[in-house]
């Protein structure tokens, strides 16, 4: 076995390129690709089975659309219903370059904003396509009955969002994700009723079956009966979301997990940019060790709230007793022109810095004040209530503090992961026949995602991109022979899965799955969270294999594998978090630059801002798996920028 400290090693393999995006002007590439892609005869589609894992915006939209096209779709979700995928929790809105406001928006501007917002670590071809498709998404969702906010004239309302100067965000109160997801869920339900989608709820994918180098099926566990089954298809689509839960405390749902993408990675799919994780600055801080997840508060609060901490360390006076001249409105002080409205990553890091200095507020000193006293004095309580009432109510319900009277306490939390499975322009991974869509892939947001763009990408991939590109794969790769459960690759995958579960149940140690999950989470939050250093990452990489060793010695999973067993589900997901956390830290260690959500303390400008190092790091890092605890292979995808030229961000 490789010794643990050697894990900071990796080898550099052949560079990797996206072969599918056509050359030519960026605004013609998607049309060209669609024209060049081979089609499958409608009469033959019925004979093709496609597996879709996940039923969020990307998966739900893809399942419904592929079934409408005539394919036989077999779809999975771990929830009890496809309607509960975590896309449902997105609050803010969805961007689209409709230019209904006549405020100078265009497809090119959305493309430009997204590439720049991603700190020049995303592919131009993909981002331009996303901006093009954004327009069609709104049409599609309106036709499905999504109740977007409207103006008195009956037309759609929009609002502006962080990082852009136009009003292009469509929304449905604070529940845009819910409404879009229900639209996709209803479209999917129609196809389930029509018999075109075979839906398996409460069923979790535990491995990928690769036959002759092509993805041909999955191993899945029925979470009610515990039965492990194999499912086969001509192509497999992963729409299983991001891996933010590796941090234990995040704004992800409790059961969101990385198992599907990690198992695919182990079977040959490259994992790109795992260290690109996004931290949201305005979450409700943890209230104690019992905290199980974090809740996000809309970023819009920073429009009127002022962020401050006491000037003195360890000042435990109630906020009202701290006089004005003993408060530090640190964002306004450090960034006089943007003030409280600096981008997410900057606001987050600044909060961490003041808390690290010992000036944080609330239990454990992990929080800063977001104060509306001035806004209330200026606009009146009623106006504040109209604008933020529902958020204030939510805050009060969780914390039992009245934000009209006491300043809110906020703290950053992990919220989205830009990294994911490497995919080409067709959204195909490095395993032929395996596609990754939505947050599960790495493609469109580079090193940082702009607000209201996650919903846009999920739906673009699911409704429009994948259903066009998957035809090409299916047409060019007619399956030669049927695969069934007796195929050696399937037998092997099932055996591995069963062995892993049996082993988890057999350890019978003295620590619960949650205790391990919390330990991993605290470690990666400390060393691979808001600010990262060479030294810290090495510490984490040293510690993670020790935790893994301890995990397999001390884990305790009660019950059996042949029943509904939530402890077993958790423990099995932690096995994958342990490995993923290592790759995430290694990726963060190797990328000795700061960009987007990835901040390396060694790479700062003289005034403390993130310093990108384009000459060395203008690439996507696609990692190839070798073995557990062994050095992975790095494949670099060089990024070129023909339309949006890299500049250093400045918000001072």
């Amino acid at each position: 076995m490789t010794s643990y400290s050697e894990y900071t090693e990796y080898t550099v393999g052949e560079p990797i390129q996206d072969e599918q995006a056509p050359s030519g002007p960026v605004n013609e590439r998607w049309d060209t690709r669609r024209f060049e892609a081979k089609l499958v005869n409608p009469a033959n589609r019925r004979k093709h089975t496609i597996i879709v894992v996940g039923t969020g915006l990307a998966g739900g939209a893809a399942g419904a659309t592929l079934a409408e096209q005539g394919y036989h779709v077999v779809q999975f979700c771990y929830q009890d219903s496809p309607r509960r995928a975590h896309s449902i929790a997105a609050q803010g809105g969805i961007n689209a370059a409709k230019n209904y406001r006549n405020d100078g928006d265009s497809i090119h501007r959305l493309f430009y904003d997204t590439v720049k917002g991603g700190d020049f670590r995303a592919r131009e071809s993909n981002v331009h396509r996303l901006a093009q498709i954004s327009v069609e998404i709104i049409d599609q969702c309106v036709a499905q009955g999504v109740p977007f906010a409207r103006e008195y004239g009956g037309l759609l309302d929009t609002r502006s969002f962080g990082g852009v100067q136009v009003s292009r965000t469509f929304y449905a109160r604070g529940q845009t994700g819910q409404q879009l997801l229900l639209g996709a869920y209803q479209a999917l339900s129609r196809q389930i009723a029509a018999g075109n989608v075979e839906m398996h709820a409460r069923t979790e994918m535990l491995d990928l079956i690769v036959v002759d180098g092509r993805a041909r099926g999955i191993v899945a566990r029925d979470l009610v009966t515990g039965r492990i089954s194999t499912y086969f298809a001509d192509a497999v689509v992963l729409a299983s979301g991001g891996y933010g839960n590796v941090f234990y405390l995040s704004t992800n749902a409790m059961n969101s997990n990385a198992t599907a993408i990690w198992r695919a990675h182990r079977r040959g799919a490259y994992f790109a940019n795992p260290c690109f994780t996004q931290i949201h600055p305005t979450c409700i801080p943890r209230s104690g060790d019992h905290q199980s997840k974090l809740t996000l508060m809309s970023e819009s609060l920073r429009n009127d709230g002022r962020i401050w901490v006491p000037k003195a360390k360890g000042d435990t006076r109630p906020p009202a007793e701290i006089p004005e001249d003993e408060r530090d409105y640190y964002l306004e002080r450090i960034y006089p022109s943007f003030g409280n409205l600096v981008p997410r990553d900057i606001a987050s890091r600044a909060a961490k810095n003041v808390c690290d200095e010992g000036r944080g507020v609330g239990p454990g000193g992990q929080g800063v004040y977001l104060d509306f006293a001035d806004a209330i004095a200026r606009m009146g309580r009623k106006a504040v209530e109209e604008k933020y009432g529902n958020l204030f109510d939510m805050y009060e319900r969780i914390t039992a503090e009245n934000p009209y009277e006491v300043p809110m306490r906020i703290y950053p939390a992990i919220h989205y992961t830009m990294g994911g499975l490497w995919v080409d322009y067709d959204l195909q991974t490095t395993v032929p026949g395996l596609f990754a869509i939505g947050e599960a892939n790495f493609s469109d947001h580079g090193a940082n995602r702009l607000g209201a763009s996650a919903l846009m990408q999920g739906l673009a991939d699911g409704y429009f991109v994948l259903p066009s590109t998957i035809n090409d794969y299916l047409a060019r790769n007619p399956h030669k022979d049927e695969v069934d459960a007796s195929h050696p690759a399937a037998v092997e995958a099932v055996r591995e899965t069963e062995d892993r579960l049996t082993r988890l149940l057999a350890v019978d140690g003295d620590r619960t799955p949650d205790s391990f999950h919390r330990e991993i989470g605290e470690l990666v939050w400390e060393f691979c969270g808001m600010a990262r250093t060479d030294e810290g990452l090495r510490k984490a990489l040293d510690r993670l294999p020790q935790i893994r060793e301890e995990f397999w010695r001390r884990i305790k999973v009660p019950g059996t594998g042949e029943e509904f067993n939530q402890s077993l589900e958790k423990a099995n997901r932690i096995v994958d978090y342990l490995e993923l956390a290592e790759l995430m830290c290694l990726d963060a260690l190797h990328r000795a630059e700061s960009c987007g959500g990835h901040f390396r303390e060694e790479s700062q400008t003289p005034d403390g801002e993130a310093a990108r190092r384009d000459e060395e790091f203008s690439y996507a890092a696609a990692w190839e798996f070798t073995d557990t605890g062994a050095a992975p292979v790095l494949h670099k995808e060089q990024l070129t920028f023909d339309y949006v030229h890299p500049t250093q961000r400045s918000y001072a």
Binding site: G145, G153, S292, A400, F464
Partner: protein
Amino acid sequence: MKLTLRVWRQKNPDTPGAMATYELDGVSQDMSFLEMLDVLNEELIVKGEEPVAFDHDCREGICGACSLVINGDAHGPERTTTCQLHMRSFRDGDTIDIEPWRASAFPVIKDLVVDRSAFDRVIQAGGFITAPTGSAPEAHATPVPKADADYAFEHAECIGCGACVAACPNGAAMLFTSAKVNHLNVLPQGSPERETRVLDMVAQMDAEGFGGCTLAGECATACPKGIPLFSITAMNKEWLRASRKVKR
């Protein structure tokens, strides 16, 4: 806080269940109700007992997975989801009864986990607008009066948790069904399927074995999203209209 919990334990659908009593100490007022159960489960696992199974996911009140009847109230004493209920709603020394949703259409899977797939089938029966991807007209082609859009939204807020069924003395799913019927039927995009939608969804609702409505109003009281009782009235009107109009 020190609490006495009486929790419904049931190994699987075929084994009869019973209430089991647990003493739990060191509960903080700031914990959510589910975090309190997490603490109980951690203790049970370490003691070598099976933890209590319950459905939960987003823990921010929107996914609709959590589903506990607490002291006889669906989602407990506050008008919110179980995951957003906090222990400050209880007092030191309280005894808390925790039971699963009870309805023949929602059979118990294990402990506090029930099978709500009946709701999915009600939606599959007609809770959608037939708009295949790619076929959509320009979004501004059909303006929707703001009042209609707001009315649709008010009903579209349903999270499908099933508290309405759990609270209804008859285990009826009228509020769930009506929320979706009203959301889609008021919109111009939903009007071509207006009649078949309500007839098919109500027929499926009946076929799933939900009870009938006696307008007790418990559903609307329990609904964490505040879907109004008049949602049911509006669906009745739609159904009556559709059954006069459609000859089957």
